[in-house]
């Protein structure tokens, strides 16, 4: 007989209750996440069949092919695609940090009821479909749009030119899309800031930059790390925005994978790319989180 929070439970009673409460969640994750992952992992070692998208025998070829050892000799096409996606993810995360930091501090400084209003405004873009938002950017950046005319007036582009496709347009769309993922966790850290530490640091001779670095940054590091991870992972897999605003001339890891499962009908290779992408991102995040934790603790 066990006593939990003042309630007496038989051993089986406890098992039964756990199954009842956490069972649905576990079942959901198992069926829709774990099993597909296992399937992808297995498929990544198979070959393309005659009339099936994947078939025996087992092979490692999908993994070696990823590094460019293919039918036509060495070609680092796929690592370049992964690298490009990582750069896009990292760039988006970096730009989002730059935009979210002042925004989070601004919202936290607002009086009570305006805070909720501001947070709602941050979330509102989510109410619109991603594709529609991205097409909206095409309209905003079209020839003779307000922004295009302004850019032309500054002599940045020839008159009558659209501002897309371009890298700027891609990052504009990406930041617009992922900013809330960074603002929300960052805001919750900023909200809880102990400002007396900032005063203590200033009192001990820290200038404004040093106060931020030593008294504020360590406190908001958890929110910052969480936000960066939330932006970086989906941004790395993003390909709709680069397609629509970047001209669709270059491959991202996202459309590389989707093509393998679509027109190319090469499920094993698609699976191998997916596993590689996942492994690289996870190792990268692990290194990053470790580093962030360490730098949050060290002093200089």
């Amino acid at each position: 007989m066990q006593v939990r929070y003042g309630e007496r439970l038989t051993p089986w009673g406890e098992v039964w209750r756990s199954a009842l409460t956490s069972g649905p969640g576990i079942a959901w994750v198992t069926i829709f996440l774990l099993l597909p992952l296992v399937a992808i992992f297995v498929i990544s070692f198979l070959s393309v069949g005659e009339d099936k998208p994947a078939d025996l025998p087992f092979t490692l070829e999908n993994y070696t092919r990823f590094f460019g050892f293919g039918y036509f000799g060495f070609d680092p096409l796929y690592p370049v695609i992964i690298g490009r996606s990582l750069v896009l993810g990292a760039g988006t995360a970096a730009l989002c940090v730059v935009a979210a930091l002042p925004l989070a501090f601004f919202i936290a400084a607002l009086p009570g009821r305006y805070k909720n209003l501001a947070l709602t405004l941050v979330i509102i873009p989510f109410w619109t479909n991603l594709l529609i938002r991205t097409y909206a950017w095409q309209i905003l950046l079209a020839p003779h749009s307000l922004l295009a005319n302004a850019a032309a007036a500054w002599g940045l582009v020839p008159a009558g030119h659209a501002l897309y496709p371009s890298m700027m347009a891609v990052y504009l769309g990406m930041v617009c899309d992922y900013l809330p993922f960074l603002v929300l966790p960052l805001y919750s850290s900023v909200e809880k800031l102990d400002w007396s530490l900032a005063e203590a640091a200033a009192d001990l001779g820290a200038n404004r930059v040093q106060v931020f670095r030593h008294a504020i940054l360590p406190q908001i590091t958890p929110g910052l790390v969480a936000g960066i991870i939330l932006v970086f992972i989906p941004a790395t897999g993003q390909f709709v925005i680069p397609d629509l605003l970047g001209g669709g001339k270059v491959d991202m890891v996202g459309n590389l994978i989707s093509r393998q499962f679509g027109v190319s009908r090469d499920w094993p290779f698609g699976s191998a790319v997916a596993i590689w992408a996942m492994a690289i991102v996870m190792v990268g995040l692990w290194l990053y989180a470790r580093q962030a934790r360490k730098s949050g603790e060290s002093i200089v």
């Binding site: 102990d194 530490l197 203590a200 001990l204 001779g205 200038n207 008294a215 949050g296 603790e297 002093i299």
Partner: protein
């Protein structure tokens, strides 16, 4: 010639008061947190700002430290106007009420923080940090994080973190406020001896009158953004200027008085308990010139005698309404007509002490113990 001037200037500066506050005003919305506060703190002095919460004492401390800005008025530290000097460049350090230790840093790194910000050489930092941690007895805690410390230990770290910078003035904002009584008494003594040893000027904010009396060279009693009275512990206790100061530092009996006769240093006044003689010697209150004022007398200045003794000058009959025996003393609540009087009597006699409940007694109010108040 130029060097002579700077030399004399330097001498002037070193003789300048540690802190001068002139006509400082600070408003928060419609509220005047500080209303034209002026005070001068001498070099090496232990100066206390004493008052109830909301009296402006912490605001004044923050303005001296540069963490808050005065709307009007001047603050000088060591003779230098602090108007354009931000907190991080002022020669002062603060011990915060909440300690405000950096939670992600070890005790050693917390203490070293100020010196690192000033880019002192690492060898020098290590030496000074070790010496200060030794001085406040936290050397063995060097590698702990603040979360692993007790309240008293945090207090010591906060103190070490401030004094390692060798500030001209140390500002302490109720540093012992969060500690239990026993630890507080112990740290009061340690803090005082530390101040004597270092020779640093301390400005100490507290709402605890006993703490202020025990530790301070001088005290400023504050109320509602103003300084009510300033002076050493004895002057404040023996000669409170008004009701507020009298009641905030200890307890007082208040007696309304009308002047009947003046003769030299003496005043004869009419009160609820008859005519009393008041010695005006040493009374600073301007109210002494008026025909009506309030008198105060400390409970321990009231002497009690058996009712069998005769009535005389400043003597009158009372009845014991309540008594609290606390060993070394007995506290009485006495009634004489419409007046209630508190008396605290030392139990100096061997055997049975004093008076019983409901018993009649005679009291004597010494003419020098009757204080004339402003209000």
């Amino acid at each position: 010639m130029a060097s002579v001037t700077t030399e004399s200037e330097r001498r002037n500066l070193s003789r300048a008061p540690a802190v001068e506050v002139e006509n400082v005003v600070r408003r928060f919305g419609d509220v005047e947190a500080l209303a034209r506060v002026s005070l001068t703190v001498r070099q090496g002095e232990f100066f206390s700002l004493l008052g109830p919460s909301g009296c402006g004492k912490t605001t004044l401390l923050r303005i001296i430290g540069g963490l808050d800005v005065a709307d009007e008025g001047t603050v000088r530290i060591g003779g230098v106007d602090m108007r354009a000097i931000p907190a991080h460049k002022r020669p002062v350090n603060t011990v915060f009420q909440s300690y405000a230790l950096f939670p992600h840093l070890t005790v050693r790194d917390n203490v070293a923080f100020g010196l690192r910000m000033k880019r002192v050489a690492p060898v020098e930092i290590a030496r000074r940090v070790a010496a200060v941690m030794e001085m406040v007895e936290i050397a063995e805690l060097a590698d702990r994080k603040p979360a692993q410390l007790s309240g008293g230990q945090k207090q010591r770290v906060a103190l070490a973190r401030a004094i390692v910078n060798e500030p001209q003035v140390l500002l302490l904002d109720e540093p012992l406020g969060a500690l239990d009584l026993k630890l507080r008494k112990q740290l009061q003594v340690e803090l005082l001896s530390l101040q004597r040893r270092l020779g640093i000027t301390f400005i100490y904010v507290t709402h605890d009158q006993e703490e202020a009396l025990v530790m301070s060279d001088r005290i400023a009693v504050m109320r509602a953004g103003r300084i009510e009275q300033m002076g050493d512990a004895e002057a404040l206790y023996e000669r409170p200027r008004n009701r507020f100061v009298g009641q905030f530092l200890g307890s007082v009996n208040l007696i309304d008085a009308t002047v009947k006769r003046r003769e030299g240093d003496d005043l004869w006044v009419e009160t609820e308990v008859g005519t009393l003689r008041v010695s005006a010697n040493g009374q600073t209150s301007p109210a002494a010139q008026q025909s009506k004022f309030t008198l105060a007398i400390r409970p321990e200045k009231v002497s009690m005698f058996p009712a069998t003794e005769g009535v005389g000058e400043n003597r009158f009959r009372v009845r014991v309404e309540e008594l609290i025996y606390i060993g070394s003393e007995t506290h009485y609540l006495l009634r004489a007509g419409s007046l209630t009087l508190r008396a605290e009597v030392m139990n100096v006699r061997v055997g049975s002490q004093g008076f019983d409940l409901g018993q009649e007694a005679m009291v004597y109010l010494p003419p020098g113990g009757l204080i004339i108040l402003d209000d």
